[in-house]
Amino acid sequence: MADRLRVDVAVLGSGPGGSVTAALCAEAGFQTLLLEEGPDLPLDACRHFSGEEIVRKYRNRGLSLAFGKPSISYMEGCCVGGGSEVNRGLYHRTPAYVLDRWAREYQVDALTPDALAPHFDACEARARVAGLPGRAPPLSQRLGDGGAALGWDSMQAPRLFDYASGRKQSMSETFIPQFRRAGGDLMAGTRALRIARTNRRWRVSAVRDRRPLEIEADGLFVACGAVQTPALLRRSGIRHNVGNSLRFHPMLKAVALFSDAVNRPGDPDPVHQIKAFEPRFGIGCSISSPALLALALGGNPAMRAHIAQASDRMGLYYVQNGSGHARVRCLPGARDPFVSVAHERNELEALYDGLRHLLRALFAAGAEAVQPCLPGLPMLRSAAEMDALPASLPRKSASLSSVHVFASCPMGGNQRITATDSWGRVHGVDGLRIADASLMCGPTIANPQGSVMAIAHRNALHAIERRFA
């Protein structure tokens, strides 16, 4: 016999979308259950970007792949707080031109920067967003300097971070404690398997500690992230424009070797970003621990050989854009969905062009050597040596990675291409809403978590006003 629970509102998935939604529902006085497949671990249960963190907090322990030419390996959090626990919290509001495009093509109502501003304000009041006090660490500053030398503007991205306490403003530090204080129930280690509508209520079939669990709710929000949300809906027979349009921000990387220390133990996270070329591509800096340098340099032994002696002189940088159009499909009997991705040639070429821009910026920043992180490509000693690079991205050997996934169930009034209406209500299904990155109508170009939170905030208030109808 399955255990049974009855609540006003159930929210499936406790990432930024689910946590914001659940906190608002609980605060509005509804008996709210927040269900999370992953474990409930404190923010500092493991070191950030460590092997232990990947094993304990990432979905598939970091081994998720969208199959294509080239494939994209993508990362998602799988723990209370979802991606917000494992990410760097780099923060931007959705660019106005992105919202404008979504409103036009997808016919999303009331999604202007002005209409969304109060929701950003409200989220930022609860999860603090701040710029780095003082000067950025050298690894970061170098990117800014290199860009400036070439006449490209850069900026220092703010973060969801409390610099006074040194703690990231993840969901487990912000919205989830607020949800609990408002009387909400969080159930970790519980995976939703299927949802069904019976007797004007939603029934969620879940499993917890290998025991079946049935949950009944008047209102239901699915916020399992941009891959698992369409997988759950499709398993439950809901398929209209669900899982057909998953997008990424795939990255290509480069490692620079400088003549002096840029990557000192204890430095804060790097924050410089070159946004002058967006939306074609954007450039930024990554955490550059020896392990992450080694991982990025898997196909480049010449630069990798420097890690043991000179990792303090090395910095890892990336370029990303919105290449890749993917589908999420459930395989019979398999727990994990299958994701396949196709690329448009011009998008991949833009990404490769972005890599060339990044290499130029790193040489302009004074790098002694720069290694594009693609197997078999040479380590370069000067910008002139870039002529030796292949004319276009070597698709066979290229390995792309992404930490941003979205747009698998886009919202809007244009029913031909959307899965939900402008407020996250799934078309043609009563009382079912999506509340996560799946709703975005395409790449956010900027780091997406701020957009996910603000849109979840907007849609949750809309739902509460209508009592989840």
């Binding site: 923010l43 500092d44 493991c46 070191r47 950030h48 970007f49 460590s50 092997g51 232990e52 990947i54 094993v55 990432y58 979905r59 598939n60 322990r61 970091g62 081994l63 998720s64 792949l65 780095l132 006090p133 003082g134 000067r135 610099y163 040194g166 703690r167 990231k168 990557n263 133990p265 204890g266 430095d267 804060p268 996270d269 955490i287 550059s288 621990s289 020896p290 392990a291 992450l292 080694a294 991982l295 340099l297 898997g298 196909g299 990798r304 890690i307 043991a308 395989l331 398999a334 727990r335 994990d336 299958f338 197997p375 066979k396 050997s397 390995s399």
Partner: protein, 124 residues
């Protein structure tokens, strides 16, 4: 001598560890990370990965009379190198997976002061 996936993975991790870090290598730490990671991969990928690993281990049986995990260090490195450069995509993918996980696992967190969740407060 039969091919064996677990022995092949151990041998591969040890070979990469020695190639990369010589005496400083901690192959057991890397091996734990590799096996922990593989334990979480999507279920539908496990059978093909297992078969590909067996094929990798069996590869030198014809030419050398022994599976990969029984080869000497230099011979192991030559096979890894050959598979990394193979014209066959699945061979390259297999090496990318194992070598990347090993490389990451070779730099354990206790050597890496930058990876603390609470960042140092040197904001100047």
């Amino acid at each position: 001598m039969m091919p064996d996936a677990r022995s092949a993975i151990r041998a591969l991790v040890e070979a990469v560890a020695r190639r990369e870090r010589g005496d400083a290598a901690q192959p057991d730490v890397a091996l734990r990370f590799v096996t922990d990671s593989l334990g979480g991969m999507p279920g539908y990928l496990r059978p093909p990965l297992h078969l590909a690993t067996l094929a990798f281990d069996a590869w030198p049986i014809v030419s050398r009379g022994r599976p990969f995990h029984r080869l000497r260090h230099e011979e192991r490195l030559r096979q890894i190198d050959a598979w990394e450069r193979s014209v066959l995509g699945p061979c390259r993918m297999l090496m990318t997976l194992y070598v990347s996980l090993t490389l990451f696992g070779l730099w354990p967190d206790d050597q890496d002061e930058k990876s603390g969740q609470q960042e140092n407060r040197r904001y100047g």
